[in-house]
């Protein structure tokens, strides 16, 4: 096969072009709990997420499915508990959801790769492949995942037809609104927050708001000593 000079140079140019494209993103979320607390009863982000993604509202607490919710500070940060922690912090509820870890144990244990880590950092779910073994739930150190113990459809207040529901017998969790990100929109929770307490951004972009916040302020993450490298940062 003769290689033509022009064809060869074209191929080289194409290859160089694709690698010269923007480097892979690393999506992360920075939460400011002080801003979140301004309206103590606010659950706008939770409602937005659960409505957008057809998350069912189940009466039985033990069958609850939730992608994002509020947890008392001591539960979310057990290593920061103690008698002499700042009073207002002790009982403060913080938003918790999937940390989209860099070294996710749930991905490591899934026997069918129904959950995996994307190049842009999102720990994704494939609800077609999940066999419902719940090993990922056992693997998650944060309790971020929920299992569909019953058929969720009857328990969804109003189905958003733009997003599928799930069937019973599969595990689900926050997916960083990857379907919205594909349209260039921010995650639903970020958009819904009236105080802009949730800052979503690309940590590889030095000019993103999330990256700038992390450079300027001290933040903590949930159970970082476990080596999971969570990518949800809580400003202190």
């Amino acid at each position: 096969m003769t290689i033509h000079r022009r064809g060869f140079l074209c191929t080289l140019a194409l290859a160089a072009n694709s690698s010269a494209q923007a480097p892979a993103k690393r999506w992360a979320m920075v939460i400011d709990p002080q801003k979140c607390l301004k309206d103590k009863g606010c659950t706008k982000c939770i409602e937005a997420c659960h409505k957008t993604h057809n998350v069912p509202a189940l009466a039985e607490a033990r069958h609850q499915v939730k992608w994002i919710w509020k947890e008392p500070f001591g539960h979310a940060f057990p290593s920061e508990q103690g008698e002499h922690v700042r009073e207002e912090l002790k009982h403060q509820p913080v938003l918790v959801f999937c940390n989209h870890c860099d070294e996710p144990p749930c991905v490591r244990v899934c026997p069918t790769q129904a959950t995996w880590k994307r190049a842009d950092g999102i720990v994704m779910m494939d609800w077609h492949r999940c066999i419902g073994c719940r090993y990922c739930i056992a693997g998650c150190p944060y309790g971020s995942r929920s299992f569909n113990w019953v058929d969720p459809r009857p328990h969804i207040r109003q189905i958003n037809t733009d997003f599928p529901t799930r069937a019973k017998g599969v595990v689900e969790k926050c997916t960083f609104c990857e379907e919205r990100l594909a349209q260039g929109q921010p995650p639903a929770c970020v958009e819904a927050c009236p105080e802009k307490a949730l800052v979503f951004g690309d940590l590889r972009d030095p000019q993103s708001e999330a990256r700038k916040l992390l450079r300027a302020r001290f933040s903590i993450r949930r159970k970082p000593e476990l080596g999971t490298k969570p990518e949800i940062y809580y400003l202190v």
């Binding site: 790769q113 693997g139 569909n148």
Partner: protein
Amino acid sequence: MFMFEKAVVGSRRYWIWLLCLLVIIGAGFLCYLRQLEYGLGITGLSRDVTWGLCIAQSTFLAGVAASAVMVVLPYYLHDYRAFGRITILGQFLAIAAVTMCMLFIFVDLGQPSRVINVLLYPTPGSIMFWDLISLGGYLLLNAVIALVTLGAERRDAAPPGWIKPVIFISIPWAMGMCTVTAFLYSGLPGRSFWLTAILAPRFLASAFSSGPALLILLCLAMRRLAKFDPGRDAIRRLGLIVTYAMLINVFFFLMEVFTAFYSRIPEHMEHFRYLFAGLEGRASLVPWMWTSLALAAVSLVLLVAPRYRNEEKVLAVACGTVFLSLWIDKGLGLIVGGFIPSPLGAVTEYAPTLPELAISLAIWAVGLLMLTVFYRIALAVRESLAAARQEV
């Protein structure tokens, strides 16, 4: 080839027993159909305690299955002739136990029709993948070994040479299977109750005490029901194996307690506290765990003294207490205890529901059915062989 014709000849008692088992299996099957329709919400599981009775039974039975190695190893590797009559029984027990183990996992899946995905999309990084391989492989190995050796015995001939390496492979395979079962739990960073290097050795120790204990009980039952004599030496040696394994098992447990409570790390202590004292007023497993400890203590007293251990009636009681104690410890406490408290510190209790119990009973009945049929075949083969020899 499978000699099933031997299983359809039996006494009235035999058929009534089989009928009872079939009724239990039928009832459990109907409950499973209901579970398929309604979802796993029919069980007592919850968002915090996502694995319960079924997975715990599976874990326990994987150990029981691995224990066949305790008769195979002395007999085939060290020529311990006394085990000659019971190796086949140990292998049949392994087959029944592994089948039950896999069934327990199957009925616990949320989307069981997709289980083939584990083979279609192999994930060597996932221990559950290796669990399936090791369980399936062990089933195959033991099925081939049992078939070939029993078939050879029926023809009053030596088994073919190629079966020897297969038998040798089954020994490390059994160890590997038990270890992989432990690895399912001991590599999870978020579950501090299981995140201990001693979990795999504990699994091996409890496997090698509960399995042979069950085998002793089955052999003694065969002597009573089917005039089968396993041999006094074999029973005594098995009893000794159970003793040492149980001593090591209890020792390992005490090691865990020391590390948790001397280090005073809350995450390590809390699970033990829940199991043995209760947390936040919730203590449903506490009586079970103390019973398990008491049974273990009683069993050790009966096992350690040769005066008691070599008395077969006492040995039977000791084996029963060993089996029950370890069934509570591994088949209930270990798995549920790992989930309570949850990663967020919640204490959500678990109790199996009636349909869950029915399904579990049905799977145990499947195992007992398999054991009954297999033992019937084995004993019938031996009987006809003995009769043929007498004629000659």
